[in-house]
Symmetry: C2
Subunit: 211 residues, 2 copies
């Protein structure tokens, strides 16, 4: 089972590594990090590089596709090399997935039209403009399309999908071995739970961030 | 505020990226990935490389040190280049931290003697042999030493420490922007919550994993 994790300039590292850490523990998993060109790909803050070991062109038929998000997503929205690859591999993938604003790339490739999907809470409106039906849920399954909310939601997506792929018992074992028993020190991780002023401030700022 | 994330062969990626994703969002943060040599460092499964941009030698005085764990930790327990560097930078660090079996490296460097600390649940006994006082807590503060339990616990450690460094309001904002509102699909993420048979099986296996 080849799992292709897509990298592009200014992606968010946890978007990619969260679901990778869960799904790479499936029996028979062959994860591979892919990008237009092989080599180091810088993340959003520029302080971390992950290495793409394969090019998109050399990865024509992954079983699972994971598309992370991050500020760099906006530069990819008309990149036909990436969007065309997403359409091509989606034709034969078992699961096509995204984390955070990665769903906007799936949507731009035309893969989420008429489908229930999610994204970072600040990007749900944009997702709708591509004909998807955004939900406020953290992990959304619609057929073989699995989308996760912002950044850390990719871990929940990865573990949930691992259960579908490898069974609940295996997924529970991975949860135990990765000690995924989250205990956030605050309860401010969604727009429903955060103070309205904080949410409003970021909604205002996001008009300039997400285009 | 320089934040040095230590890489070594066969580290666990989420151990490093989880706290990095939180702490790198502190005002004035200058995160840097460091290793004995610069260049790509392979993770535990061999399918992902993170790039070390600086050598340990070129990073003599970070403000925050983050030591991940992973199967490769056991090969580092007598690596005096790494252990000596940990002792040196600890002399001037503001915070010395670890995730998962990274605490065994801090302990091997002599930094946790007599201190409350934690590690992956399968490694708590080993931690004790180095004179530390292991607790079953997910994130443990003892002075400037902050240790986290297995793999995913580094995210909770990072967000908790971000609150100490940058204030609760900033940390809550980061929680909202990374949408850290975890919703695991199972409740099996600790030895207290997992079935006894599953826990027992892995305790038996770990005698061969952790040395």
């Amino acid at each position: 089972m080849q799992i292709a994790v897509v990298l592009f300039d200014r992606f968010t590292a946890l978007d990619a590594v969260g679901p990778y850490e869960m799904l790479s523990r499936a029996p028979g998993a062959e994860p591979v990090f892919v990008a237009e060109r092989t080599g180091a790909v810088r993340n959003d803050s520029g302080s971390l590089s992950l290495v793409a070991d394969r090019t998109l062109a050399d990865t024509p038929a992954p079983d699972v596709v994971i598309v992370p998000g991050g500020p760099g997503q906006s530069d990819q929205m008309e990149n036909q090399a990436l969007l065309g690859w997403l359409r091509t591999v989606d034709a034969t993938s078992t699961w096509t997935t995204s984390v955070c604003t990665g769903s906007l790339l799936l949507a731009a490739a035309g893969l989420l039209t008429g489908r229930r999907a999610t994204s970072h809470w600040l990007a749900l409106d944009v997702l709708e403009t591509f004909g998807a039906a955004p939900t406020g849920e953290r992990v959304v399954f619609d057929g073989k399309y699995v989308t996760a909310a912002g950044v850390s939601a990719g871990i929940d997506m990865g573990l949930t999908l691992l259960g579908r792929i490898a069974g609940d018992e295996h997924a529970r074992t991975v949860q135990l071995l990765t000690e995924y028993d989250p205990q956030p020190p605050y309860d401010c991780g969604s727009p429903e739970k955060a103070p309205a002023a904080m949410v409003g401030e970021w909604r205002a700022r996001s008009r300039f961030i997400l285009t």
